[in-house]
Symmetry: C2
Subunit: 218 residues, 2 copies
């Protein structure tokens, strides 16, 4: 798997040791995340909208209503930036200045296009559904013709992308290590709660294993 | 507290029942979140970067290195969009089409400016630190002159903003309620783990109560 080539947009100028152009690193972050933030320009104004997504090989898919202003704008072939951020820990230093967070983030630049091919559109919807809960696609009713028409699927090639990762303890100024201040990391995780059954479900229904044992790939 | 006036940019055209212009709703989401996604345009390309933040009254503060390309670009008075997203649950429907997520998000539009006033800059850094861990500011060494110089603080007036909220069970098509498919919500929460002490901390140090009992305001 060939790594990403750094560009002026993806090269980190500060703290370059936090950057990665490895496809494997980038794809693991994309595959763990649930929400991406899509940035685009509308009437000269930057707009950032959260949405779900999915990845198949070197393509990122986003979908939504064919009536969505964002999706129609993006389908017009405008430049886009898609960012996925995983927050891993609060980093508590001895000085206010050195407080930080441990995180893994990916930034993708490119131009999105509407998926027109029926087979690719179907596959993209499968990928997006499987991204939310692996195995879900075969548990549910698949889209019908009218739903496919109402859905706009966009694809963004994963060609210009990079990851940024901070790990580890705080880095304090040398004299501050003498201060009587607790310092370290407070890990944060996204944890699923008990599944909440739909009120119209039969009372004896129990959630499937892929919901009960839900976790994100890591 | 006066609510936000809807604008062309913040008015929802689809599903307007999910939108809110109530300042209280918007501020609770901002106060619970830890990371915002800042969108701006650089050389015609939208860029979306995750970063920490804090809020004081009707102002959002973001800070970073005075050497940061993003912060210097923003300090130049360009248009910005700041988005905060809290993911509450996966919404699992009987049909692939109606899968969704429960979330609360805020979008803020405006123009950021560098904080020049020394007292306001100090207060902004306090607010950003307290946003991460309430009470932390008085536990740690405060910034010195050289750190203040190295830090760029930006402020964004909370004047044009809106929230978008989805709650509740999936909404399936009427015939699908007969299908033998488990449907409902899988709640997701951000949960702190055990604090990890800095390796250079004295072995008998124990983390303070605001770290041990950490939770986000909700």
């Amino acid at each position: 798997m060939e790594n990403f080539a750094p560009t002026d947009r993806t090269r980190l100028r500060r703290l370059p040791q936090r950057g990665s152009f490895e496809r494997d690193v980038v794809y693991r972050i994309l595959d763990e995340g649930l929400v991406c933030h899509v940035g685009f320009v509308a009437d000269g104004q930057p707009v950032v909208i959260p949405t779900g997504y999915g990845r198949a090989n070197d393509t990122l898919y986003v979908h939504g209503s064919a009536a969505s202003r964002m999706l129609r704008t993006l389908a017009g072939g405008v430049r886009v930036c898609v960012t996925v951020t995983l927050l891993d820990a609060l980093v508590l230093a001895r000085s206010a200045f050195h407080h930080s967070m441990n995180y893994r983030s990916v930034v993708v630049f490119g131009t999105a296009a509407a998926v027109e091919d029926a087979a690719e559109k179907w596959e993209a919807l499968r990928v997006i559904t499987e991204h939310i809960v692996p195995g879900r696609w075969s548990d549910v009713r698949e889209p019908d013709e009218s739903e496919l028409k109402k859905t706009l699927v966009l694809k963004l090639p994963l060609a210009e992308a990079s990851a940024k990762v901070r790990t580890g303890p705080p880095v304090d100024d040398e004299p501050d290590y003498e201060l009587p201040v607790w310092a370290g990391e407070l890990p944060l995780r996204i944890v699923p709660g008990e599944p909440v059954a739909d009120p119209r479900l039969a009372p004896d229904s129990s959630p499937p294993a892929n919901v009960v044992n839900y976790s994100r790939p890591r």
